[in-house]
């Protein structure tokens, strides 16, 4: 007898959110925007270097590389795939191949091959998770470790350097004063947003994450959708790695270390549900902006690295806790 005036019946004692999801949505979105503004305000007052074009361009550039991964990672979380831990390997793959192949086939084909191979790693993840039902954490950790091993073996563990200055100039350059990587990031974010919120594939992704069995019983190709999220992340990480390699003009096998954590932090802080079924690219990017600005302020203020880690960890715990609490409320 949970029917009828279920809005009432489902509410828990002490529940503050009684007006349905719209208000809560608005609140949680606005909450993050307010937090971003607060960081900007604090940064501007506390440190003269913060509110400057130079600093913002720096933040924007470093944010763009992670941001491309964030777009992919959003799909993984929304589809209920927990997280893709093979990102460091796919980034390394993208960076090393896009530089290492340059002498043989030229910069553009190198980049394409690098991204395609990263996509293939994503496909392997996707097949393991979607079709064989392997736990995503285990599957992506395993595939990532293997991928990284292969990449290391291929380059002999040494650093690979770029040999094509023109491509480096292009990637490091600016268009109308905006860094090229930021423009690429924006384009990928917009594409990702359209796919997730407007396309049937995106709706399938949300449905699969929201209720796998119901989606399956609604003729949604759930296995392919789940696998697809990992392919998207593989491609995104490949592009991100390629751009990173071209920017740095050098690539080590461990170049992507930590990017998985940054991306997951951003997505979770953005309020995308870690259990799946809820989230959007703009939310994840808002989370990214917040985390990046906060980190930037902490760096400028000379906050020690362990403390920075502590703050970011606390943020994740709070965000996941919020998600759990909101889920209880929604009964979802």
């Amino acid at each position: 007898m949970t029917e009828g005036v279920v809005d009432i019946a489902r509410m828990k004692p002490g529940d503050r959110f009684t007006r349905g999801s719209k208000v809560v949505d608005a609140l949680s979105k606005a909450g993050l925007l307010i937090a971003i503004l607060a960081v900007i305000l604090y940064g501007s007052i506390a440190n003269a270097a913060f509110f400057s074009t130079g600093n913002f361009l720096n933040v924007l550039t470093s944010m763009s590389i992670v941001g491309i991964v964030v777009v992919g990672m959003t799909f993984v979380l929304v589809v209920g795939g927990l997280a893709d831990l093979s990102v460091p390997a796919t980034i390394a793959c993208g960076a090393i191949l896009s530089l290492g192949l340059q002498p043989m086939i030229g910069p553009v084909p190198s980049f394409m091959v690098a991204v395609a191979l990263a996509g293939a790693i994503g496909l392997l993840n996707g097949v393991l998770v979607g079709y064989f039902g392997v736990n995503p954490i285990i599957a992506t950790l395993g595939v990532g470790t293997i991928g990284l091993g292969i990449v290391q073996a291929a380059v002999g563990g040494v650093i690979v350097y770029g040999t094509n200055p023109a491509s480096a100039e292009l990637v490091k350059g600016r268009l109308f004063g905006i860094p090229v990587v930021a423009i690429i990031f924006a384009a990928i974010a917009i594409l990702g947003h359209i796919i997730l919120s407007r396309s049937f594939w995106g709706r399938w992704t949300l449905a699969t994450g929201g209720n796998y069995s119901a989606a399956e019983a609604s003729a949604v190709p759930v296995r392919a959708v789940k696998a697809g999220a990992f392919v998207i992340t593989g491609l995104a990480a490949g592009i991100s790695g390629g751009l990173l390699g071209l920017t740095l003009q050098s690539a080590r096998p461990l170049v992507g270390t930590g990017y998985e954590f940054s991306a997951i932090t951003a997505v979770v802080v953005g309020g995308v549900s870690i259990i799946g079924g809820f989230g959007s690219v703009p939310r994840a990017i808002a989370g990214l902006v917040f985390v990046q600005l906060l980190t930037n302020v902490m760096v400028l203020e000379g906050v020690r690295t362990p403390v920075q880690g502590f703050v970011l960890g606390a943020l994740i715990v709070c965000a996941v806790g919020m998600d759990a609490a909101l889920r209880k409320r929604g009964g979802a």
């Binding site: 029917e3 009432i8 049937f200 399938w204 449905a207 119901a214 019983a217």
Partner: protein, 499 residues
């Protein structure tokens, strides 16, 4: 009534939520050693009243006495400490734990020591035996059927030595046979002096088991009466505030050629050599005890599991269904039994749920057409009178009946030629039930072939044109509507001849 016989006495209970008065001045009392039924349409306040009783909702005003003493319950633990136990309609157990562990969850023997597993299993065995449930306490809970899990829920409540047990729709997943078994358990508990609050939409069962009945409507108590001298019709009119003449209307439809035919289909596990055909404009009932293999047949036809033998024809062709997408392409739709688990995506709105199976048709260049999506939802929301009439509302905020209408709408959008309905009216109230039956009636009138699985015999008898009865994975020959009787179906379902 504050004497010792009174297990529970709630007086003047009012519960308001921001903007809504869910209960207004409700008086409700239950005696020890009796079964007290609570009936009412969905939204009448039964659920809220029970949540007040189990401590989930502290009342806004009013007093509660348990065993004659006034009590204050702020959380479910308070209610449990007073001996109030609730058995929810939805199963709240841990699938990966054993039956015994589930029965003693939270109260396992050996508080500060290691878990005394043997003692726990022995105790659980005793409880299950006492209840007459043939369940192995060492079995993993998830391996049990839904109806067995329901019995474990009851055993869990019973093992806690309660004074008051609240059962919310306990028979919604039970077959008639299992319901009878449950009733003997309830009578036993009643004779032990336990006060039983029994919430059900099934008035026939209320008449069988209850000693007293309380009718709620719109958050108010309408009447409490002894069960002697009240009829189902009277209860319904008290519930809805009007006379309802025909509970199961049957609109005649012209029956055409077979649309879906299955011949000797098997899945190698749950059913064998099942044959029947469903004709255009016909409602074919598939009934039997829970666990007889009905749902498995439906799921296999829909491609959610694989057939190991036999042929399946649709309009004379063999479509070769291996997945739900194949089934949808072939023109089959399936409204599943477990609405919450398989029917709806709770976090999505009504519109998104309805368009899910046909998203690709609604898309241009991969993007879902906003207009077409909205128009589709709008069409079904108004055609089926889904309430509230808002396609943008999250579907889990709707009542069960309205969720079910949305799930049916989802499948009609795919324009199937065969519609399989698995327990389509389970857990929905009288009004919504009639609406769903009307919808099914309209569909067959338009020539659709409907295969309806139902455990509720009055529904099967009232709605179906022909009925196939399953028992232990085998199907009977179809019985024509004219030759149907409850006795005949029960005889086939149980394999026992009725004198």
């Amino acid at each position: 009534m504050t004497d010792a016989h009174c297990a529970l006495d709630m007086k003047g209970i009012t519960k308001t939520f921001p903007g809504v008065k869910a209960l207004s001045n409700v008086n409700f009392s239950v005696k020890f050693g009796s079964v007290h039924a609570v009936v009412g349409e969905n939204g009448a306040g039964k659920s809220t009243l029970m949540k007040v009783l189990n401590g989930s909702y502290p009342p806004t005003s009013g007093t509660i006495r348990v065993g004659g003493t006034e009590v204050r319950m702020r959380r479910p633990a308070d209610a449990q400490a007073l001996g109030v136990r609730m058995v929810h309609q939805e199963i709240n157990l841990v699938p990966d734990l054993s039956v015994a562990e589930n029965v003693y969850l939270g109260r396992m023997p050996g508080k500060w020591t290691l878990l005394r597993r043997r003692e726990m299993v022995a105790k659980a065995t005793a409880v299950l035996e006492e209840l007459g449930a043939a369940i192995n306490p060492r079995e993993r809970l998830g391996n049990l059927s839904i109806s067995q899990q329901q019995l474990v829920e009851i055993a869990k409540a019973y093992a806690a030595d309660p004074r008051i047990i609240v059962l919310d729709e306990p028979t919604s997943s039970l077959s008639e046979h299992e319901t009878a078994a449950l009733f003997s358990i309830l009578r036993k508990m009643r004779d032990d002096g336990i006060a039983i609050v029994y919430i059900s939409h099934r008035l026939k069962e209320v008449l069988q088991i209850a000693d007293e009945v309380t009718v709620l409507r719109d958050g108010s108590m309408i009447e409490t009466r002894p069960i002697e001298g009240i009829t189902a019709g009277e209860m319904i009119s008290l519930m809805v505030g009007r006379e309802v003449s025909n509970v199961f209307p049957k609109s005649p439809a012209a029956i055409g050629a077979p649309v879906l035919s299955v011949e000797n289909i098997s899945d190698g596990k749950h059913f064998r050599d099942v044959s029947f055909d469903v004709r255009a404009g016909e409602i074919l009932g598939l009934t039997g005890l829970v666990g007889a293999g009905r749902t498995e047949v439906a799921r296999a036809i829909f491609g959610l599991s694989q057939l190991t033998g036999g042929t399946l024809r649709l309009g004379g062709r063999e479509p070769g269904i291996r997945s739900p997408s194949d089934a949808v392409k072939a023109g089959i739709a399936y409204v599943p039994e477990d609405r919450k688990g398989d029917g709806i995506v709770p976090a999505m709105c009504v519109r998104e749920n309805i368009s899910l199976p046909i998203l690709r048709q609604l898309s241009k260049l991969g993007c879902v057409s906003h207009g077409a999506d909205r128009a589709l939802a709008g069409h079904y929301v108004s055609q089926f009178a889904i309430s509230p009439p808002d396609g943008e509302r999250r579907i889990n905020l709707l009542s069960g009946g309205n969720q079910q209408k949305a799930v049916i709408a989802k499948w009609l959008a795919a324009k199937p030629s065969v519609l399989i309905l698995d327990e389509p009216t389970r857990g929905v109230d009288v009004g919504a039930k009639a609406e769903i039956h009307n919808i099914i009636g309209q569909l067959v009138a338009e020539g659709m072939a409907v295969l309806m699985i139902s455990s509720e015999l009055p529904e099967v008898l009232g709605v179906c044109d022909r009925v196939v009865v399953m028992r232990d994975g085998h199907a009977s020959a179809p019985i024509d509507r004219k030759e149907l009787s409850e006795e005949r179906i029960m005889a086939l379902a149980t394999g026992e001849e009725v004198a």
